[in-house]
Every structure is written in C-alpha cells, then in structure tokens.
Symmetry: C2
Subunit: 209 residues, 2 copies
DNA sequence: CTAACAGCGTTACTCGGTTCACAGCTGCCC
DNA sequence: GGGCAGCTGTGAACCGAGTAACGCTGTTAG
C-alpha cells in the first residue's frame, strides 16, 4: 500500500551511508591519508564501527587487519557500487532562492552532477547562472529528451510541484528530488525523494526541549 | 556509539508522519471538509491506512466508525502532541540563497516559526529581508540569549558549519537543522537534524535506473 | 618466543516499526 | 429486521536494520 520504494533490493539507508563514507574518504584522501580504520570512518559519520564493517562486507570489500582500509581501493569499490557512471545530467526546475542554492552547490561542489535549469519566469531564463544556461520551461521536455536526462530536481512552489513533476516524468525522468512540501503522485516506476523542510523543522522543534 | 537521538522515547518517524498528517488535515479543513477516513489521510501522505490508525491510537485519539475522523478535534490532538506552544523563535545563520529560501518559506508559509537572521557578510546584514531584520553574526549570541531561542538553522558553507553550530549551542540553542554537508560534533543533549542535499541527490541517482 | 592487544569478518540475536488478521460497531439496502 | 459492507481499534505475527559476541589474523612488547 506504500510502494513508493522499488528498492531494487537495496536499503536506502545503506546508500546514504555509502555516500557519506565516500565523501569522508575523499576528504581524508585529499588530506593525505592513505588508510583508515572502521572506527575512524564511523566517528566521522556518526555511525557505529560495526555498521561500517558490515556495510563494507555487503560490498564484498575487505580491509587489512593491520592498517584498516586503504582509502583508494575502498573508494573504487564504493564508486562501483553506487554506479559512478560518469557525469549525471540533472534537470533543475525552479530558479528561486532554493533552486539557485542547489545550482550553485552542484556547480561548485559536485561536478559529477551537471544541471540544466528551467523556470517559468522569463525574467530568470535565457541567461547564465553559475555557469549554467537557464531555459524557459516550455523547452524542458525537448531538452530532457535530447540529453536523456533521468534525474529531476523540483524547486518550484508547492502548487506547481505536481504538474511540473508530471511533465518531468512524461519527458523521461525516472527519479525526482522534490523540495516542495507536498506528496507527489507519480507512476510507481518513478523514484521520489522528498526533502520537506517544514517537516524537518517541526521535528527539530519537537525534540528540542 | 551513535546516540545522536535522545529520542525522548518517541520515534522520529512518528513525528514526521504527524507533521504530514497535520498539514494535510489543515488543507482539507481549509477546503471545507469536516471529516476524513484513515485511508484518505493515508493516501495523501503515501502511508498505509493501518499506519494512520495506529499512529492516532498512540495519540489516544479515536475516530467514529461511521464518518472516520473529524478534522478539527484531530488537529487539536496532533497540535497538543507536537507541542504547539505558540510561536517558536528560530535563529537562521547564513543568508545565502539557501538561507533566503528558508527565510522566505518560514515567513510566508509557516508563521508559527519566527526567524531571526544572521550572517557574517556585512553587505547582507543591517537590513530587512522578507520582513526579518538581519543581524551581523557578532550579535548572534546576545540575540539568542535575549530571546531565549532554542532552535537554530545552519545555512552556511560547510567549512563554517561546525564553528557556527558551536556558537549556537553555547548561546543556548538545543536543536539544530543543518544544511551543510558535514557531520556536526556537538554535545549529546543537542538534537541535530542534517539535511544533506548531496546525499539525497546521490540516492536519487542510484535508484534511478 | 609468546602473550597481550587491536582490528577485521561473520553469525546469531535483539528490538522497534510495520503489517496481518480479526473483532466490534454502525449505517444501509433489500 | 437481518445480513452486508465498510470503517475503526488492536493483539499478534512479521520483517528488517542494527548490535553484540566471538573467532581469526597480524603486530607489538616483554
């Protein structure tokens, strides 16, 4: 009755942790480290050490008992598992403050994801933002089809989110990161991850006392 | 080893769902509905119907067999449970695009949360944004203490997040919503919720295939 | 040399959350 | 009026994620 996740047999939590591990390992590697212990990686991610070992076990990766895990090979394994198939084009809809925040973040900090931006407002489009050309939204479907874009990011106001995401899906997108505080109703084969700032704040407010 | 949650005996998932229920119920009520069935509420939140009933059971609320749950009383119960103690002041640090997005969202869509904004850059402060006065960051500790602010939102770049959140905590904040892609190390009594856009995107990219 | 130690890999278990299944109730239709 | 249909409430079963516990291996100190 809640089949929002066609998990492909993989736990989303595991993917989240692997993504965290990867980031920490990249930073550690850039800082000159060559190997890490499970408890170090665990502490850096607020996770238990056995959790790290178990996760790496499911990846089929083994470390050495003497110096822990070598960073570079481990990174390769994680990349392979997460499917690091080169750059990933992303359709970003909505260039308000939130959209621009995501845009800047992707361009400067996450070169793997290559965004293409769209907005309804003609005052925001037909120009370059953070090195990305912004299209009017009626060009969206064509652009998605031409570039075989599979991932969409929805940064539009709540009332437009459903319609925009439907357009994304009909154009070929199969995974959506949604920032609008609404639940999207889309075909089951589409993976939807909603980041609901409102709910998150309520949660913090609740546990803050 | 990962005691980041001092759950207070309550599951964070439950709080998230209650927050969703509340929003849906408010919208339904504004649309003129007077009562709703568990399966309707469930569908609107992408949850199973028994989950809804069970959640409401833990709240001690009962619906009627004939017409489901009356919206107004149910809203009251949820409000009471989530601790709707009037307005909640929020310290928002970092007025870049992300910060302004959160700011606008709070001011226009979520009047319960009353933000006060801070930034390091003097070009952004000493003025009004979205009806909120923006202070330079060296006024932050005083303002938090004076207004007894307990909730903080961190929208600063990753390298500054740790330092900023430490300042928030020493000034009296006990709950933080963190948007920076880093893991914060703070005293155990502080509740931290991290929204990691980078990880979320990786997850979508992974399950999109 | 060997004994203590530290870290990894793995299995068994625990625990919390979700779902199943069913009982009870109420209105409706024939 | 009696059965039927549909909803709620809830004890019990189920499931999966995380954890504890333990054996193994290599390292170090005495």
């Amino acid at each position: 009755m809640a089949p929002a996740t066609k998990n492909r047999g993989v736990s989303p939590r595991l993917v989240e942790r692997l993504s965290l591990y990867r980031r920490v390992l990249q930073q550690a590697g850039a800082a000159g480290a060559r190997a890490t212990y499970s408890h170090e990686l665990a502490a850096a991610c607020r996770v238990s050490a056995v959790q790290v070992r178990r996760d790496l076990m499911t990846l089929g990766h083994s470390g050495s008992t003497t110096s822990g895990y070598e960073i570079q090979p481990l990174l390769s394994v994680i990349d392979a598992y997460l499917g690091d198939t080169g750059s990933v084009p992303v359709a970003l809809v909505g260039i308000g403050h939130l959209g621009r925040a995501v845009l800047a973040f992707l361009c400067w900090r996450h070169p793997r994801f290559v965004p293409v931006a769209f907005d309804r407002d003609p005052r925001l489009t037909e120009r370059v933002l953070d090195g990305v050309w912004c299209f009017p939204i009626d060009r969206m479907a064509d652009a998605i089809r031409e570039q075989h874009i599979r991932v969409g990011v929805v940064c539009v106001p709540a009332p437009e989110a459903q319609r925009v995401s439907e357009q994304l899906v009909t154009a070929g997108v199969t995974g959506i990161l949604n920032f609008a505080p609404v639940t999207l109703f889309l075909p089951n084969h589409v993976f939807v991850e909603t980041i609901d700032i409102s709910v998150a704040l309520e949660k913090v407010a609740f546990f803050t006392r």
